[in-house]
Amino acid sequence: MLSEYWPVIIFLAISVGLGTALLVIGGLLGPSKPSVEKSSPYECGFEPFADARMKFDVRFYLVAILFIVFDLEIAFFIPWAVVMEDVGLTAFAAVVIFTLELAIGLAYLWKKGALEWE
């Protein structure tokens, strides 16, 4: 029973090992010239510690929305692709229709200029 968990344990060991090894090697071999900017936490180009009630650039929003749309698309495609041979033609047709609908939406956005940053 427990032997079924071997892959998980091996995966954990490799990831912990690799992560530690990379950090240690980087610390030992890399040059170290710290400055204020370098040591401060990275926060997507914002001041890391400031009032949260500030104006956001609307572009972030656009990127986020686009990311969600295509991320969901992938989340839908991958399970289908894995079992594609078993689920047959109906599922294939469904995915084609789904993709077409997304494409229509994207074409509409594009032509309307919703993807323009400026």
Binding site: E101, A107, K111
Partner: protein, 479 residues
């Protein structure tokens, strides 16, 4: 999936394809020729109506046709509701064109969103599985939220859209929670299998009952029934008038179908349990809706409370649990949608140059400004109040009859008493139109297609009242 499945869902497929086509068409149509989008939208509705009507071989001989692995159904109830949904939406589009121009909202998104909302309503009407029901509901609701928020710069509209969105999402969450419990108790999502499972194992199951409670709460939210009615007045007031018209008509038909599918077709075995719940929300809605409407000075809010009261009546028919009661409720919800479309049509008619005529005082002396429309509005209001010969009376009559036939005479009495109280606020508007002097005496008019449709709408209320037989028979035959 085979050919027959596609035929069963043909109206939905056509509306989906054409709505997507409309989006693409809009990219190539210049702003001056936006009338084309309007015409194409009406054409889509006509096409959908033809396809739906061709599917009814004989309205009294109904065997529901299942499709897509029993997740989709086509029956005469669905067909009838869909045909009225097309009709209401066509009226809404013709009413709104005038308004959209005046309010600088004449964009094709309005049409696309309306068509997608209609598609959601159609899926909801025909859904025979919990997942399909949820899918239709979400498609409809999400399109409606966006339609309410279409006037982006308007503070009130944005606030209304926000409230609608948050409360609507909560209701969807409740529905999902209820569905998951029902699934846990019966082991199926298909409505017929659920009903079978309940028949086999009996209704004495705590999880099933909890699922039922959540489902009823979600339905009450969507209908806007007391005590889940808080969003109704705010959304009705804040949304642009044509969107309010839409919210008060097509989604109500869909919500009715959803109630039948969930409570009767799948949880029919628990009738004894949900009867009490519907009784409570129904009576509270009739009482609070009619009383609160008396105190309103904004006509959209007044009509919102009137919706709450009318939906309470729909619950009375449903709770009787007899085919007669369901038919009466269906007749009620269809005729209510027609009357409310007409009433909001008049609100649209009165609005001009970016100002909505939503105060009751704006209707003072309408008779001097446009006697014909004052008469039409009076007709619609009298029908909403339930004055005999008009269709609103027969709707109330049938529902009350169904309630009396299951031995709840006291309930009918309560409903009648509150309706009489409610008649006051409809009559007050008529008094304002005919016996008060107008503040502004300039005559008002509208484009000819608008006038024709509004006249037709108001006269339909009269004609359906006098010749109510066929529609009543069609509603009764659906169950």
């Amino acid at each position: 999936m085979n050919w027959q499945d596609l035929q069963v869902a043909a109206p939905e497929i056509i509306v989906l394809l054409m709505a997507c086509g409309l989006l693409i068409l809009d990219l190539f149509v210049s702003e001056q020729r936006r009338g084309l989008i309007h015409l194409v939208s009406l054409l889509i509705l006509a096409l959908a109506a033809i396809i739906t009507l061709r599917g009814i071989p004989a309205i009294d001989a109904v065997t529901p046709v299942m499709a897509f692995g029993d997740t989709y159904v086509r029956d005469s109830m669905g067909d009838l509701l869909k045909v009225f949904a097309y009709l209401l939406m066509a009226m809404m589009l013709i009413y709104s064109r005038h308004y959209l121009r005046q309010f600088d909202m004449y964009r094709s998104e309005y049409y696309a969103l309306a068509l997608f909302a209609l598609l959601g309503a159609m899926v909801l009407i025909s859904a025979a599985s919990m997942i399909t029901i949820y899918l239709g509901l979400e498609l409809m609701s999400l399109s409606l939220y966006a339609m309410v928020a279409l006037k982006r710069d308007d503070k009130v509209a944005t606030e209304a859209a926000m409230k609608y969105f948050i409360l609507g999402s909560m209701a969807s969450g409740m529905l999902l929670y209820g569905m998951s419990m029902i699934y846990g108790a019966t082991g199926s999502l298909q409505i017929h299998e659920i009903s079978q499972a309940i028949a086999n194992q009996g209704s004495d199951n705590m999880i099933l009952l909890l699922g039922l409670v959540f489902t009823v709460v979600a339905l009450a939210f969507k209908f806007g029934l007391v005590p889940f009615h808080m969003w109704v007045p705010d959304v009705y007031q804040g949304a642009p008038a044509p969107v309010t018209l839409f919210i008060s008509s097509v989604p109500k038909l869909a919500a009715f179908a959803m109630t039948i599918r969930l409570l009767q077709d799948s949880l029919g075995g628990l009738h004894g349990d949900w009867q009490g719940m519907l009784l409570m929300v129904g009576v509270l809605s009739i009482a609070l809706g009619n009383l609160a409407a008396l105190a309103q000075s904004n006509i959209k809010r007044m009509l919102a409370y009137s919706t709450i009261a009318h939906m309470g009546f729909v619950m009375l028919g449903l709770l009787s649990g007899t085919p007669e009661g369901y038919g009466a409720s269906m007749f009620y919800v269809i005729t209510y949608a027609l009357m409310s479309a007409g009433a909001f049509g008049v609100v649209i008619f009165m609005s001009s140059k970016g100002i909505e005529a939503d105060n009751l005082d704006d209707y003072k002396g309408l008779n001097q400004r446009n006697p014909w429309f004052a008469a039409m509005f009076a007709l619609l209001l009298l029908s909403l109040a339930g004055v005999p010969v008009l269709v609103g009376f027969f709707a109330k009559w049938l529902v009350l009859q169904a309630v009396v036939n299951v031995g709840m005479t006291w309930l009918a009495l309560v409903a009648v008493i509150f309706s009489v109280i409610g008649a006051f606020y409809y009559l007050r508007v008529i008094k304002l139109m005919y016996f008060d002097k107008a503040d502004i005496e300039t005559p008002i008019s509208a484009p000819s297609d608008f006038r024709a449709v509004l006249t037709g709408n108001a006269l339909l209320v009269l004609v359906l009242g006098i010749f109510s037989g066929p529609l009543i028979a069609a509603c009764m035959a659906a169950f």
